[in-house]
């Protein structure tokens, strides 16, 4: 007569040693902690599991165990009540894993005995649907999406660059977006600042952007910072965020952000635009060059007209702002090759991308080994440099 389920369990129990939850708990604290392999189904695992354990559903045990355990390693197999784990442990022993035991009473007894339980964070069903195209990408996946939801990005300017960057970061589910802008929406902004709308002309840009972001993705917390970044508020502001997207429209703010990003070691995603041309780079503090390694001084005003003076193609803002959003997501997820140590020039007229290699300057006054970094009066400094150079140019 073929063996019944009870017979199978009994024979497995003869072969596989069992360990009690109260004996396992102290072992997990020690230096030679066994690997706990939880063979329950995903829905069971999601409701809670033993801290440090790894999840290999029973149906995938044979095919996946080699990825998580070595044959001689001490392994404790666990399930809900200690039965599936006995059968799974026997299979592992047949596969050459020599030091395998089964957790008596399983996770149920572990939890009832008051041992710590880890409840993994997961996407809600609505989030699984909303972010399904991200979750499908191996480099992002559910874990990456959760990381984005935890991430806090500060956008300097809710204008030409900040509008598309904030919009896409919000769509991507970056959980907290800070918008620094003291300006209000003007009709002349709408040719490029797509996060705003005609019926919000006159509204603070941060508030207007918040309306659009909340309509797009209610997962996103929007912090409106309706003021200019100054040396008095910048460090407090940056301390709340993981990454800066610099879409400022003036040199003093850009130099201030660079120096403050170094001080707080906050990655800074840079872009700047004029007419048909955009620049982009990523400044990873003390890993790659900073803004001042590349541009130790700002140019004089006649060489650096603003978009308000010289104009800018609206679509260019979209391209460059989205390059910033793209780089921000890569840095937050730790994937790909960020645009660090490289400066990209996009020429919308010629439709060319030119990549320049930029390096850390050993004499950089901001991030060099002998730099004495302190926040200064950037307005006065930029104006002074500008006047000096302008006089030189006119001479």
């Amino acid at each position: 007569m073929p063996p019944t389920y009870q017979d199978l369990l009994a024979s497995a129990r003869d072969e596989v040693p069992e360990i009690q939850v109260n004996d396992l708990a102290p072992l997990l604290e020690g230096p030679d902690a066994p690997l706990v392999v939880d063979v329950r189904e995903t829905s069971e695992w999601d409701e809670g599991n033993i801290p440090g354990s790894v999840h290999v559903p029973r149906g995938f045990l044979e095919s996946r165990i080699a990825g998580v355990a070595r044959p001689g390693q001490p392994i404790v197999v666990s399930c809900a009540a200690g039965q599936r784990s006995l059968l799974a442990a026997r299979t592992l022993r047949e596969m050459g894993f020599t030091d395998v035991s089964s957790l008596a009473g399983g996770f149920t007894r572990w939890k009832q005995s008051g041992h710590p339980v880890r409840v993994p964070r997961t996407l809600s069903p609505a989030q699984r649907s909303r972010y399904s195209r991200h979750v499908l990408i191996p480099e992002v996946g559910e874990e990456g999406q959760l990381r984005l939801l935890d991430a806090k990005v500060l956008l300097i300017g809710a204008g030409g660059l900040g509008s598309p960057a904030a919009f896409y970061l919000a769509a991507a589910g970056v959980g907290t977006l800070g918008l620094v802008d003291d300006d209000v929406v003007d009709a002349s902004n709408l040719q490029r600042q797509i996060i705003h709308a005609t019926d919000r002309v006159g509204m603070l840009k941060g508030e207007s952007a918040k309306v659009a972001i909340q309509a797009l993705n209610p997962d996103v917390q929007v912090n409106v910072h309706p003021f200019r970044v100054t040396r008095d508020n910048v460090l407090d502001l940056l301390s709340e965020y993981d990454l800066i997207v610099d879409g400022a429209d003036n040199f003093p703010t850009r130099y201030l952000l660079n120096d403050a990003a170094l001080m707080t070691r906050t990655p800074l995603v840079h872009a700047s635009i004029l007419r048909f041309e955009g620049h982009a780079s990523v400044f990873l503090p003390y890993e790659g060059p900073c803004y001042r390694c590349i541009f130790p001084e700002p140019p004089p005003p006649d060489l650096a007209p603003s978009c308000g003076e010289a104009g800018v193609l609206g679509v260019l803002c979209g391209v460059m702002g989205n390059i910033q959003a793209n780089e921000a997501i890569k840095v937050l997820l730790g994937i790909g090759d960020p645009l660090a140590g490289r400066l990209m020039i996009y020429d919308a007229l010629g439709m060319t991308f030119t990549e320049l290699k930029v390096r850390r300057d050993p004499d950089c006054p901001a991030c060099g080994p002998n730099a004495q970094l302190e926040l200064r009066d950037y307005e006065a400094w930029c104006a002074g440099v500008g006047r000096h150079e302008h006089a030189g140019a006119a001479a």
Binding site: H279, A310, L356
Partner: protein, 105 residues
């Protein structure tokens, strides 16, 4: 038929001009051109050619015989500050990029 007809004797490969990318703020000096062709040489010689063709160019990017601090010049994607500076050689066909900081956002 024409494909079989002997063509004119082969010329020496003509030298490829150097292409200088002109940033937006300097384009008024080049009549709006976003790039200008020059002969090979050093960066200094390339700037001399630009100055000859577009008077006023040199003083916008150079001062006292050196590049201004707010101007970066790249030859084939490499910053000349980390090469031979203004004496960096620009070979046939290479691209020179003049890069001043842009603040717009």
């Amino acid at each position: 038929m024409s494909t079989l007809t002997p063509t004119a004797p082969r010329q020496e490969t003509p030298s490829m001009p150097v292409t200088v990318r002109i940033p937006s703020p300097l384009r008024p000096l080049t009549g709006g051109a976003s790039s200008v062709a020059c002969g090979a040489g050093t960066v200094r010689e390339v700037i001399d050619q630009l100055e000859a063709a577009h008077p006023g160019f040199q003083e916008r990017i150079m001062k006292d015989g050196a590049l201004r601090r707010f101007v970066n010049v790249f030859v084939a994607g490499q910053d000349v500050r980390f090469a031979e500076g203004i004496d960096t050689v620009v070979a046939d066909g290479q691209e020179v990029t003049i890069l001043p900081a842009v603040a717009g956002g």
